[in-house]
């Protein structure tokens, strides 16, 4: 199922501290509380205005910094459909996949998409469609594909433990 929403565009090196502040990382519990701190130190308007299916667009090294998983899960809990960036911090990338969040490395799309643009991401066809054109992205590796298909790592491991 393709996901469609509007773009929130940020710059290079968007780090985990601005995605989800470290001071809440051992105390915030549950979807609502984790969702409420998303992007608090980057864009205080985000939580109030984000709509289900919206897409975050970043530059280079999106999600660099801490291993904290809430930097990815807070986006999922706000209904974000995908993150498109020129490149990703490696732990954020893993965390996002593990929460079933589409993280797409596509420098051309990340540069072309403007704030507020309507963006459609089609995982099956590896395509991003926007006002400024269509962009292809490489398919995920088999292990990543399996986790995404299961809906995240917890579900994937549960399935594996059952068999």
């Amino acid at each position: 199922m393709p996901t469609t929403g509007h773009a929130w565009k940020y710059g290079d090196n968007i780090n985990t501290d601005v995605l989800f502040p470290g001071k809440f990382t051992y105390t915030a519990q549950g979807r609502a509380e984790i969702a409420s701190h998303a992007l608090e130190d980057l864009d205080p308007t985000f939580v109030k205005r984000v709509q289900p299916g919206d897409v975050i667009v970043g530059g280079r090294n999106f999600g660099c910094g801490s291993s904290r998983e809430q930097a990815a899960s807070c986006l999922v809990y706000n209904g974000v459909g995908a993150v498109i960036a020129e490149s990703f911090g490696r732990i954020f990338y893993r965390n996002a996949i593990n929460f079933g969040l589409l993280v797409i490395t596509c420098p051309e799309a990340a540069q072309a998409i403007q704030p507020g643009d309507e963006v459609t991401v089609d995982l099956a066809r590896h395509r991003i469609t926007t006002a400024s054109g269509e962009f292809a992205f490489p398919p995920f590796s088999a292990s990543v594909g399996q986790i995404l298909q299961a809906g995240g790592l917890v579900e994937y491991v549960k399935e594996r433990l059952r068999t």
Binding site: N13, N15, T16, D17, V18, P21, G22, K23, T25, Y26, T27, Q29, E40, D41, R60, N61, C64, G65, S66, S67, R68, E69, A72, S87, G89, R90, I91, R94, N95, N98, F99, S141, A142, S143, G152, L153, V154, V157, K158, R160, L161
Partner: protein, 453 residues
């Protein structure tokens, strides 16, 4: 040091450290760059995030962790507990440790995870450690493969003992010559990241080598792989040598026998040492690298990373004079004895400037005990510093030295992102411990030279 014993078959192409370490962890003869392997780590690290990991793990319906002997758990990130919620979090972790019979667990005050696991020789050269902490590449100081992972992945390891990892590309960073006086491995790390960017090592395994690296003390080596997390790497590596094997053998023996370091009979130590060195891994001379950078140590100088990014490099002289309200010496990067000694050398007999606070938090209890014994703590307190419980302190903004809005901190930590120390509208500069100490005395960013009478 490289022997054919670490070459697995006559057909295998030359391998980097990362290839050898991941092949071993996956039980394979050799692996190719880009290959995805199911790796079984030797050590699985978690800290104050262990309670949250447990909540995820419970979803798997298990009653016992499958690899209790591989878990290493420290309480270090918010210690002693600043709020009831944090205290509750710690209590849950203690209960879990007890219930699962986790032997390698350390409570509040023992120190920061990376320092404690090093001091306790929990990780050994050639091993794979995966940790729910982004600075897990730290263990490259001893030639181990350390990588940060997420909490759900740690829960997965508790349940299954294995995790997929992609074999990374490797790059080499060579330091030739000896660092000039007053220039530290911290300055070298800041310079690399400043030159090549916060994503300059993205996803790669960085292998350090060269005479400048061999000349470093073990404590100074620890700074480099630790800081490489800010360079985007998956892991970083320094070839282990005699000094490393000796350090680890002494500490392994102490842990196993409850003896004092240095008072052991030589026999079990030499035994242990050869066991540890036999397990070490070294890259093949003709392994393939995606990039190679050379630095001349003599040309490096003291540097500072400016707000709000570790790659915003400035020379010390370019930012000298910037007013600071707080100076912080500590963290897994630069909170060891050598760092405190460097600070004391600058500070002894002087006073912290009015309007500036100096906070010193040893990286571990062992560092604190040594610093007490050597009179460093007394010298720091005499100068007006305040001392905190071994642990992360305000590094990630939990407590114990959070800045006010508008304030400037100079810190010996590894990360200065906006809001990192808990306050969005505060600025953090990063530097070596001696520069942080001199800045505390001057009340503004300064080098040790500037505060000489």
């Amino acid at each position: 040091m490289t022997t054919d014993a670490t070459r697995n078959t006559q057909y295998a192409a030359p391998q980097t450290f990362a290839q050898k370490a991941l092949a071993r962890a996956a039980g394979l003869d050799s692996v190719a760059v880009g290959q995805v392997v199911d790796a079984r780590p030797d050590v699985v690290l978690s800290h104050d995030n262990t309670a949250d990991i447990r909540r995820t793990w419970l979803e798997f319906g298990q009653e016992r962790v499958t690899i209790p002997e591989k878990l290493a758990i420290t309480l270090d990130h918010a210690v002693p507990a600043p709020t009831t919620k944090h205290a509750q979090n710690h209590a849950e972790i203690r209960a879990f440790v007890k219930e699962q019979g986790i032997r390698n667990a350390w409570d509040v005050g023992r120190g920061i995870c990376h320092q404690v696991l090093s001091e306790e020789a929990i990780v050994l050269p050639g091993q794979l450690i995966l940790g729910a902490d982004s600075h897990t590449p730290h263990f490259g100081w001893m030639g181990a493969f350390g990588a940060g992972i997420g909490r759900t992945e740690v829960a997965t390891l508790w349940a299954t003992g294995e995790l997929w990892l992609r074999v990374p590309e490797s790059m080499r960073i060579v330091l030739d010559g000896e660092l000039p006086p007053g220039v530290t491995s911290k300055d070298f790390a800041l310079r690399i990241i400043g030159d090549l960017g916060a994503d300059g090592g993205l996803y790669a395994s960085v292998e350090f080598s060269g005479s400048g690296i061999e000349a470093l003390s073990l404590e100074s080596r620890m700074v480099l792989p630790n800081m490489m997390a800010e360079f985007g790497v998956k892991t970083a590596y320094i070839a282990p040598d005699e000094k490393v094997f000796e350090y680890l053998a002494q500490r392994r023996a102490r842990r196993d026998k409850g003896q004092e370091i240095g008072k052991l009979t030589p026999d079990p130590i030499s035994n242990l040492k050869s066991q540890i060195s036999d397990h070490a891994l070294f890259p093949d001379a003709d392994a393939a690298y995606i990039a190679e950078y050379h630095y001349n140590a003599a040309k490096l100088e003291p540097y500072v990373a400016c707000p709000h990014s570790v790659d915003k490099l400035a020379t010390l002289s370019a930012v000298a004079g910037t007013q600071v309200q707080q100076a912080f010496i500590g963290t897994c990067t630069n909170g060891r004895l050598e760092d405190i000694a460097a600070a004391v050398e600058v500070i002894r007999g002087k006073q912290v400037a009015a309007g500036t606070r100096l906070l010193v938090i040893p990286a571990s209890r062992e560092v604190l005990q040594d610093a007490l014994r050597l009179g460093y703590i007394a010298a720091l307190v005499d100068a007006g510093a305040h001392i905190g419980t071994p642990g992360c302190g305000p590094c990630m903004g939990n407590h114990m030295g959070v800045p006010a809005p508008g304030e400037v901190t100079i810190s010996s930590a590894n990360r200065n992102f906006q809001g990192r120390m808990g306050t969005r509208d505060a600025e953090v500069y990063l530097a070596s411990p001696a520069v942080v100490a001199a800045s505390a005395i001057a009340g503004k960013i300064a080098g040790p030279q500037a505060i000489l009478d």
